[in-house]
């Protein structure tokens, strides 16, 4: 129960980012180190000027899904970025931006929210993941 969990976050919609945040917070609360690797739209969502903005929902949500999520948010659900900040304070959570995606999206480190700890390539990601499980979001 102290094996590292690694999450490759490719998706950038609020529902999938919420899923990332819940998986991260749960692992952190159980004492498991979490390593997050942000690619493509997941990385894009962590832009400092956009992180707290609306990232929409996956297509399968539809109108009914949108209504359900809006209701949950109105009832006081925490934003995924805030859940991540809490998880970072309580456990070992490392968030890295994929250097290839940084290139593709023409991003610089200073464009990203302070939640992101650095930029790395795929080899570093695999070495840090070690023998632990890898989840793709």
């Amino acid at each position: 129960m102290d094996e590292t969990i690694s999450l490759v976050v490719f998706s950038g919609t609020d529902d999938k980012l919420q899923s990332m945040a819940v998986l991260t917070a749960g692992a952190a609360a159980l004492g498991r180190p979490v390593k997050i690797f942000l690619q493509y739209w997941g990385l894009d969502a962590f832009r400092a000027d956009r992180i707290m903005k609306d990232h929409g929902l996956a297509p399968e949500a539809g109108a009914a899904g949108r209504a359900a999520v809006d209701a949950a948010n109105a009832a006081g659900g925490a934003h995924w970025a805030d859940t991540l900040r809490m998880a970072k304070e309580l456990g070992e959570v490392d968030i890295q931006a994929c250097s290839l995606s940084m290139d593709i999206l023409k991003l610089k480190a200073e464009d990203l929210d302070s939640l992101v700890d650095g930029v790395q390539g795929v080899a570093a990601f695999y070495v840090n993941a070690g023998e632990g499980q890898i989840i793709f979001i």
């Binding site: 819940v22 917070a25 749960g26 006081g76 998880a87």
Partner: protein, 78 residues
């Protein structure tokens, strides 16, 4: 009701997963070994979550109760 000596009371009412276990993790850090923390939650999922958290972290679940839509957990810091 019991008359345990609760060192810390955490109110996680109205909070949904993963917040109750985050609050538990935050809270347990502020008390010492052997001391008791009480958490109250309204999320039904918290019952299995707090049980799992207790088993994984080693902080024993001393008492558990439910009523009036609230779930109460008392845990001892290991």
């Amino acid at each position: 009701m019991s008359n345990l000596d609760i060192k810390l009371k955490v109110d996680a009412s109205g909070l949904a997963c993963p917040l109750p276990i985050l609050r538990a993790t935050q809270g347990i850090k502020t008390i010492a070994a052997g001391e008791l923390m009480e958490i109250v939650a309204t999320d039904p999922g918290s019952v299995k979550d707090m049980d799992a958290w207790s088993k994984a972290t080693g902080h024993t679940m001393v008492e558990q109760s439910a009523g009036d839509g609230k779930f109460r957990f008392v845990l001892r810091h290991k």
